[in-house]
């Protein structure tokens, strides 16, 4: 459908989204959202993870279809079904994970799929046009370079050029500065401003207050799928924004028995890890977790949590630092060895890491110790471990299915047919059944319904009572703070602060999570809060 060419001047409304509702199984991602964008403005979409920002933009870009609600471009109602359609309507999006063909050159990526192109690719003409972009907007790029050789910042520029080349008037940028180095950010903002002056409209998804305040004209804050407000940047400040982002909820406390701390189980010392891109993901993290306590780590995704957990569970090598479990060094040891030390791991990525989809419930329940007695028949004092003991396996599985309330027709049902909540129960059953001394739980209740969520939380509290040491990584601040005894805030690979969960201030934590800890007014929490 063609949008009739309407003359748009800076300040006119170029995009309007009305009453957008979108739900996924178990969660309402967008709850009746209204959003307007003016020509020539940079508007920020601010919110925590899971607030619904990316979902809303994916709807605009045609990757999802909204359940309810309408979209108007230049005053005309549109139905955006595919990204191609969105592009035709003048919308371009730069995702967090780049949509580029690595082995192609910049130029090839820019022109891929363009209809107007004739048989032979007119490389010279296109290079010239790319140079124009570079002059006008400051988008410097070498059109001949292969994408896999480029830095993240350069790849981002390619994505922007791709969108502009296709005539994007509305540009959506999803956490664009997450891939940029400090030094690149200013020139990036310069470029955005130039584009805005040229009449382009930019939607800037971010959780970084400082940047949002410095580059945007207006800010829309989302929390839990609802719009909390749309403010003019010049008329607001960090405190107000944080409040809107994080909310003023009272943390619901769970019934926790008093803390009975035992000896130190996990000791992480000055861990430094470089990730695949060569950036330091962990910049010297240290903490200790003792028996009987739940230690929560909160932070926006991508600040080093993944790398930290992978290091502790043996899936990733560290560059420096040590990890001790019960005073034994487990740094860089294999997952099998770490498993044997009675460490339970509840992974974030359930299906890929946690289970074998086509095997049945019972076989999945014994994944970690399938070749241990009693799951193998005890021949020759356990020296020959060949025959699986299916009676024992069945008995064990039956017990777990009942104990953990796993809803399944029987223990021989293929695991892939179970719902997400039941798969999580299965994983928990498997991991917790060995009475672990250390439990590493990564986003354990993500995407689950209420009953599953409560069940899992009570399980963790139960283990805590039994004396396990628990490392909990969660994006649900409420959950993390109410379950944990102590909480650490992680930001850009460093632990900002560790403090008692009791009496913790959500606002302050929220600020710390986005790196604004210098805003904390009375400067003192307990400065007696050392890294214990």
């Amino acid at each position: 459908m063609e949008i009739k060419e309407k003359v748009i001047s800076i300040g006119d409304t170029v995009l309007e989204m009305r009453g957008i509702k979108k739900h996924f199984p178990g969660v309402i991602a967008n709850d009746n959202i209204d959003f307007q964008l003016k020509a020539g403005e940079i508007q920020a979409l601010l919110g925590e993870n899971g607030a619904g920002k990316t979902t809303l933009m994916n709807i605009l870009y045609g990757l999802y279809k909204q359940d309810e609600g309408e979209i108007f471009i230049k005053g005309q109602k549109v139905d955006i079904n595919t990204p191609k359609h969105a592009i035709e309507l003048g919308i371009g999006m730069v995702h967090q994970h780049f949509m580029l063909v690595d082995v192609f050159s910049v130029l090839e990526n820019v022109v891929l799929g363009l209809k107007e192109l004739k048989l032979k690719i007119p490389k010279k003409r296109i290079s010239k046009k790319l140079e124009e972009f570079s002059k006008v907007y400051g988008l410097k790029i070498d059109s001949k370079a292969k994408v896999w050789q480029l830095s993240a910042g350069e790849k981002q520029r390619v994505e922007i050029i791709k969108a502009l080349y296709r005539g994007a008037e509305i540009l959506i940028l999803d956490e664009p500065t997450s891939v940029l180095a400090e030094s690149e950010i200013n020139s990036f903002f310069e470029m955005l401003k130039r584009m805005a002056n040229d009449g382009k409209s930019i939607i800037f998804i971010s959780h970084k207050l400082r940047e949002v305040l410095s580059v945007s004209d207006r800010i829309t804050i989302l929390r839990k799928g609802k719009v909390q407000g749309t403010l003019r940047t010049s008329e607001t400040n960090k405190q107000e924004l944080t409040q809107l982002m994080v909310g003023k909820e009272i943390i619901s406390r769970f019934d926790k028995t008093p803390l009975k701390k035992g000896k130190v189980i996990l000791d992480v010392q000055n861990l430094k890890i470089f990730n695949v891109k060569g950036i330091e993901a962990l910049k010297g993290v240290s903490f200790k977790i003792s028996e009987g306590e739940i230690f929560g780590i909160v932070g926006i995704a991508g600040n080093g949590q993944k790398e930290l957990l992978e290091a502790i569970t043996g899936l990733r090598k560290v560059n420096s630092g040590e990890i001790y479990m019960n005073k034994e060094k487990i740094t860089n040891k294999s997952p099998r060895i770490i498993n044997k030390k009675n460490v339970a791991h509840i992974p974030e990525d359930r299906i890929e890491m946690g289970i074998v989809p086509n095997m049945d419930v019972s076989e999945n329940l014994i994944l970690k110790n399938y070749n241990q007695v009693p799951f193998v028949k005890d021949i020759y004092k356990g020296r020959i471990r060949l025959l699986q003991n299916y009676e024992e396996i069945s008995r064990f599985s039956q017990k777990l299915v009942e104990g953990y309330d796993i809803i399944t027709p029987n223990i021989n049902t293929p695991v892939k047919t179970l719902s997400g909540g039941n798969i999580q129960r299965l994983i928990l059953a498997r991991e917790l059944s060995s009475n672990p001394s250390l439990i590493i739980a990564s986003h354990p209740t993500y995407g689950l319904d209420i009953s599953a969520t409560e069940f899992i939380r009570s399980l963790l509290l139960n283990e805590r009572e039994k004396g396990a040491a628990i490392l909990l990584v969660s994006e649900d601040l409420n959950e993390a703070i109410s379950l944990s005894d102590r909480v650490a805030v992680i930001f850009e690979g460093k632990i900002v602060k560790i403090f008692e969960a009791e009496g913790a201030d959500l606002q302050e934590i929220g600020l710390m999570m986005i790196g604004e800890n210098n805003l904390i007014s009375n400067g003192g929490f307990n400065s007696a809060d050392k890294n214990i």
């Binding site: 191609k84 949509m99 580029l100 891929l112």
Partner: protein
């Protein structure tokens, strides 16, 4: 000295002739795999092309009709593979194997009806003969080496160059390569991944058919059951060796042709013919070993993985 050079020229020419069928089949498979589909049915499509060309030439006395029908039959066969692999998301390896079996079976059956010596005589009369390109073939030594051959030989060489240009210099080639590398990105930009793959598989199939035709109405004028002797499989191996580049396929295929005729050249030296017959297959394995270090970076990333919009495979 001169006679040695003449001998070399002759060997080169024979190598080119021997390697042409493999070349064309390899070019087809390169095309298919570049779009992300693995076609293991090349052997079956090739031999179907062989028998089709043979029979058509016998019936119509026109070898050009022979190769056209061979290409059509190859294309129809590959359409089945495309349907199973792309639309039904079936296991590409087994699907290709099945088509090879079917192709071998049908060609054998058809061959039985036409396997009389009279048929062979007719085909011999009408099949492609060697032609010498004017002027170019008069160049001393190089001329007879490179510029004498049957029409399919030259189709092969030109196809190689055309396909290279197509794949790397045109927008369609860009599209195909994008589909094979990152179908999600291609889909997002509005490219019809399924259609592109269908077309590439069909082109691959028709080239396999053409390759087979070369065996029965150009290189030889006869039909033997199983005449391809695994050349289709070797072509699949050579696609990897060629690093999915049509120009490198030239080198690999003609090298193979060299090894192939070496069998006969070395016979007088007392090496058992059956040991010599192993050379092409050993060569293929060796080629794969050599190619592996470069392979990892250059394999079309989405090769062999069915594409479903919106689903993580």
């Amino acid at each position: 000295m001169e006679s040695i050079l003449l001998e070399i020229g002759e060997i080169i020419n024979l190598a080119i002739l021997a390697g042409t069928a493999i070349l064309i089949a390899t070019l087809g498979e390169i095309f298919t795999e570049r779009s992300g589909i693995l076609n293991l049915g090349v052997e079956g499509m090739m031999i179907m092309g062989a028998i089709t060309a043979y029979v058509m030439t016998y019936l119509t006395h026109n070898p050009w009709l022979g190769i056209i029908m061979a290409m059509i039959i190859g294309m129809l066969f590959s359409l089945i593979h495309a349907f199973i692999s792309i639309t039904l998301k079936g296991n590409q390896i087994v699907s290709g194997l099945a088509l090879t079996m079917i192709g071998l079976g049908i060609s054998a059956v058809i061959g039985k009806f036409y396997d009389e010596s009279t048929v062979s005589l007719t085909v011999k009369e009408y099949s492609f003969s060697l032609i010498a390109i004017p002027f170019l073939s008069d160049i001393p030594i190089l001329g007879p080496a490179f510029f004498i051959g049957d029409p399919i030989v030259f189709i092969g060489i030109t196809s190689s160059i055309i396909l290279w240009y197509f794949l790397f210099k045109t927008k369609f080639g860009l599209t195909i390569r994008a589909v094979g590398e990152n179908p999600i990105v291609a889909d997002t930009l509005g490219i019809n991944v399924y259609l592109v793959r269908y077309l590439c598989v069909m082109i691959g199939g028709s080239l396999a058919g053409l390759a087979g035709a070369h065996l029965t109405i150009a290189y030889t004028s006869s039909w033997i059951e199983g005449i391809t002797k695994g050349k289709g499989w070797i072509a699949i191996g050579l696609t990897i060796f060629a690093i999915w580049n049509p120009l490198r396929a030239l080198i690999g295929s003609y090298l193979f042709g060299l090894i192939d005729i070496l069998q006969y050249r070395l016979q007088p030296y007392g090496i058992a013919p059956n040991i010599l017959a192993m050379f092409p297959y050993i060569f293929t394995i060796t080629a794969l070993i050599i190619a592996t270090s470069k392979q990892r970076k250059k394999t079309p990333t989405a090769l062999g993985i069915p594409y479903i919009r919106g689903e993580k495979e």
